[in-house]
């Protein structure tokens, strides 16, 4: 019964979405305030209905109601509760429901906090948001109904794909979706501004908090996915340039570019058309990602099932929103008035360079991801565009962007003094160059990536710290005054600084790759095997039983010299319900590095084949990403950027003074 209520609520949500699309848009054209308000209520009602549907599905999974096809195929009585819940989005239908739930949450946020926005702009934005909801609700109801019944109900479900039964994967999809879907608001507002034919700085101030939320969650979601791949796939890698990973990287790159250009627009009233373009681009890439992952064009752990109808449907949605918005852009963008002027050497100038590099990097990823698909369709030849391609193209562009970042952060708005900035950052530049040279000499003969990344990372970190210091303190000031000055700086400044620090820290983690060690060896009891500065010895091999699996666990001692620094337990889990084995790597964090051991099935004589890695600085990769996301959150806490504040301030639309 509850399941049918969920299904019914979803149908009603479709009706609400239809109302949210048509009525406010019509109201805005007719100038009827009453009709425009309908959009607001429809958005709230839609959220309530989708929440009911989602709760119904969660309930079915929690109670293991195997008369629901979705539950029978993806759940199991023996699974721990957390995976019963994450199983809701660990499959195609449920994850699409989560997608529209998040879409509705963002729509409701606009409805609640958009009070002071120009009425027509809000009505149009809600209408576009409603249209997106409408398309995806129709998609779910017509091709991917999570509430489909199964008769007769099986006695036991098929279990969630064991590879997805992991805490990292329980949180990865919701965060990624908050990121993907968060850009829908930005898209809706861009479309609304184009429909209106005018745009002002208040637009940027209203959109920025949504961008920050979306971007921060996307950053965390990508980091969580990469960390999961690192410790469960057993290869020690954390980024494979897999098309599905690329699908999440592209919106991140476009979103990062947008985040920077919207800052220029808010502060300086410049780059309006470009900002709108990026707004459309960021969400288009989110849709493209959804298409690539959900349509079955690609085979991967993310492609749950291949139903050609779904692919065609999503492709139609994709075409409608991307082509529609770019047509609107081509038609209306020339009407937008250009604003503030700036010299090429200025913070705006540096941000333009940053935008250029990020969008070009994004284009290379797009090319590398789609080229094999296109080639196969056109010629039937199957190729793989692998890591070397992406490292060389996207990697080079992003490293260049890292080089520019500190200059952008330190230059003044409007007209900057490059020589002055170079002098101020001299220490950081020298340290970076020296570090790069020393590591190049240390690693002589190895690829130049590691030394380059090391130097750049230290440069970015130091330069950011110097800039923070310079804002608070100058020669002659006492510590007390400096503290007071730093407290007076806007939180969004510290947010930006933290995000740049995070970038440097991630880069430092990446550079550590060049200094690591790896061995494939057969471990015999009591015989140490060296890996980097440590040695690894097998103590024993045992069997254990988990809730829905059996596992073979090796007990391994990690020694530095003669002292034992850690005991780790890499394991292999056998899941009976799917006849499938997963690898649980044994990890020990030492400093910022990790010793990583993953094992294969033991041989008859008790020897265990294993992969051993020493990965210095590797944890910094994810710590840096967390710092970036935290920087986004800190900016969000800035008084000027809180939800709705822009609305109250929109009466005075003059550009804010520069920070």
């Amino acid at each position: 019964m509850i399941v049918e209520i969920g299904h019914f609520a979803l149908v009603l949500a479709l009706a609400a979405a239809l109302a949210q699309t048509v009525v406010p848009f019509w109201g805005a054209r007719a100038g009827d305030v009453g009709l425009m308000t309908v959009g607001r209520n429809a958005a709230l009602i839609q959220l309530a209905l989708i929440a009911v549907a989602f709760a119904a599905l969660v309930n079915a999974h929690l109670t293991s109601d195997f008369s629901v096809l979705n539950v029978a195929e993806n759940s199991n009585v023996a699974m721990p509760t957390i995976y019963k819940i994450s199983g809701v989005w660990g499959n195609h239908e449920g994850s699409m429901l989560l997608w529209v739930l998040i879409l509705a949450i963002f729509g409701a946020l606009v409805a609640l906090f958009g009070r002071g926005l120009p009425a027509r702009l809000r009505a149009d934005a809600l209408a576009v948001q409603g249209l997106i909801s409408l398309a995806f609700l129709a998609f779910i109801l017509l091709t991917s109904n999570p509430f489909e019944r199964l008769a007769p109900a099986p006695f036991e479900g098929r279990d969630l794909n064991p590879i997805l039964q992991d805490p990292g994967l329980a949180i990865h999809p919701p965060m990624l979706y908050l990121g993907y879907v968060g850009f829908s608001i930005v898209y809706s507002f861009a479309a609304a501004a184009l429909i209106e034919g005018r745009i002002e700085a208040a637009w940027a101030r209203f959109v920025r908090p949504f961008t920050l939320v979306a971007w921060s969650f996307l950053t965390l979601g990508i980091a969580a996915g990469s960390f999961w791949a690192y410790y469960t796939l057993g290869w020690g890698g954390f980024w494979f340039w897999d098309p599905v990973e690329n699908a999440s990287l592209m919106p991140w790159l476009a979103g990062t570019a947008f985040l920077h250009s919207v800052a220029v627009m808010e502060k300086r009233d410049a780059l309006k058309i470009w900002t709108i373009f990026l707004a459309i681009l960021a969400f288009s890439f989110s849709l493209l990602g959804t298409f690539l992952v959900r349509s079955g064009v690609l085979t991967s752990v993310h492609a749950f099932a291949n139903d050609p109808r779904r692919g065609v449907f999503i492709l139609a949605i994709l075409a409608m929103f991307i082509c529609g918005s770019f047509a609107l852009f081509a038609w209306r963008a020339p009407m937008l008035k250009q604003g503030g002027l700036f010299a090429p050497v200025s913070r705006e100038g540096a941000l333009v360079v940053n935008n250029l590099l990020l969008t070009t990097a994004c284009a290379t990823v797009l090319f590398g991801t789609l080229y094999p698909l296109a080639l196969e369709q056109l010629t039937g030849e199957k190729i793989t565009v692998g890591a070397p391609f992406f490292n060389l193209t996207c990697g080079t562009l992003l490293l260049t962007a890292c080089l520019v970042a500190p200059f952008g952060f330190s230059l003044a708005w409007k007209r900057g003094d490059l020589l002055g900035v170079v002098q101020r950052l001299a220490l950081a530049i020298i340290v970076g160059v020296v570090a790069a040279l020393i590591s190049a000499a240390w690693l002589s003969g190895a690829p130049i990536f590691a030394p380059l990344a090391m130097g750049l990372a230290l440069f970015v970190i130091l330069a950011t710290l110097i800039e923070v210091g310079a804002r608070a303190w100058r020669p002659g000031l006492t510590a007390g005054v400096a503290l007071k000055r730093s407290l007076g700086l806007p939180l969004s400044f510290f947010g930006g600084a933290l995000a740049h620090l995070g970038l440097g820290v991630t880069l430092l983690g990446l550079s550590g790759l060049g200094f690591g060690a790896e061995t494939v060896a057969t471990l015999h009891k009591g015989v140490p095997v060296a890996v980097g500065p440590y040695s690894v010895t097998l103590n024993s091999v045992g069997e254990q039983v988990g809730p829905n699996y059996k596992e073979t666990v090796a007990s391994v001692a990690v020694r530095s010299g003669d002292t034992v620094v850690a005991e780790i337990a890499p394991a292999r889990r056998q899941f009976a319900s799917r006849a499938m084995t997963t690898t649980q790597a044994g990890l020990k964090t030492l400093g910022f590095g990790q010793v990583y051991v993953s094992i294969a099935d033991p041989a008859a004589d008790g020897a265990v084949p294993a992969r051993l890695y020493w990965k210095p600085l590797v944890t910094l990769i994810w710590l840096g990403a967390a710092a970036m996301a935290l920087g986004g959150a800190l900016s969000l806490a800035d008084r000027r950027l809180r939800f709705g504040v822009a609305a109250r301030a929109s009466a005075r639309t003059l550009p804010q003074p520069a920070e």
């Binding site: 085979t299 752990v301 090429p344 590398g368 199957k382 060389l392 562009l397 494939v520 294993a610």
Partner: protein, 150 residues
Amino acid sequence: MTRRGRRLALIAAALAVVGAAAGLSLYALSDSIVFFMSPSEVVQKAVAPGARLRIGGLVKVGTVVKSADQNVAFVLSDGAHELKVTYQGLLPDLFREGQGVVAEGVLTAPGEMRAESILAKHDERYMPREVVDALKKQGRWQEGTTAATQ
């Protein structure tokens, strides 16, 4: 600088970055593309040894030989033709006789490959798509008989 001058500077910068990226892409493409083939295609196209390829097929039952230092040898087959593969390293969790895998590596002699990586399917529902296509071409694939067609 005039507005026009600035715009020109901007366009020049954009062209420079895009041009550099395009150049890099073309250079990288010529270097790092790997073609996928079935054992039959390797024979039909008479691929010369030294070529870097991804080969997909079924692991022929009874051909997997494991020796010291984690050396493995097995035969990949698409029903019509076969290819001997040698590999050193840990095999993926789902490597089994009679199942589909993709081997990436260099052809050492006609009909022989030294693999640098072996990919197997993620779970029992899914078979590498390339392998399915390769088997279909040889008429060895029957819809519905394997769970992978879901």
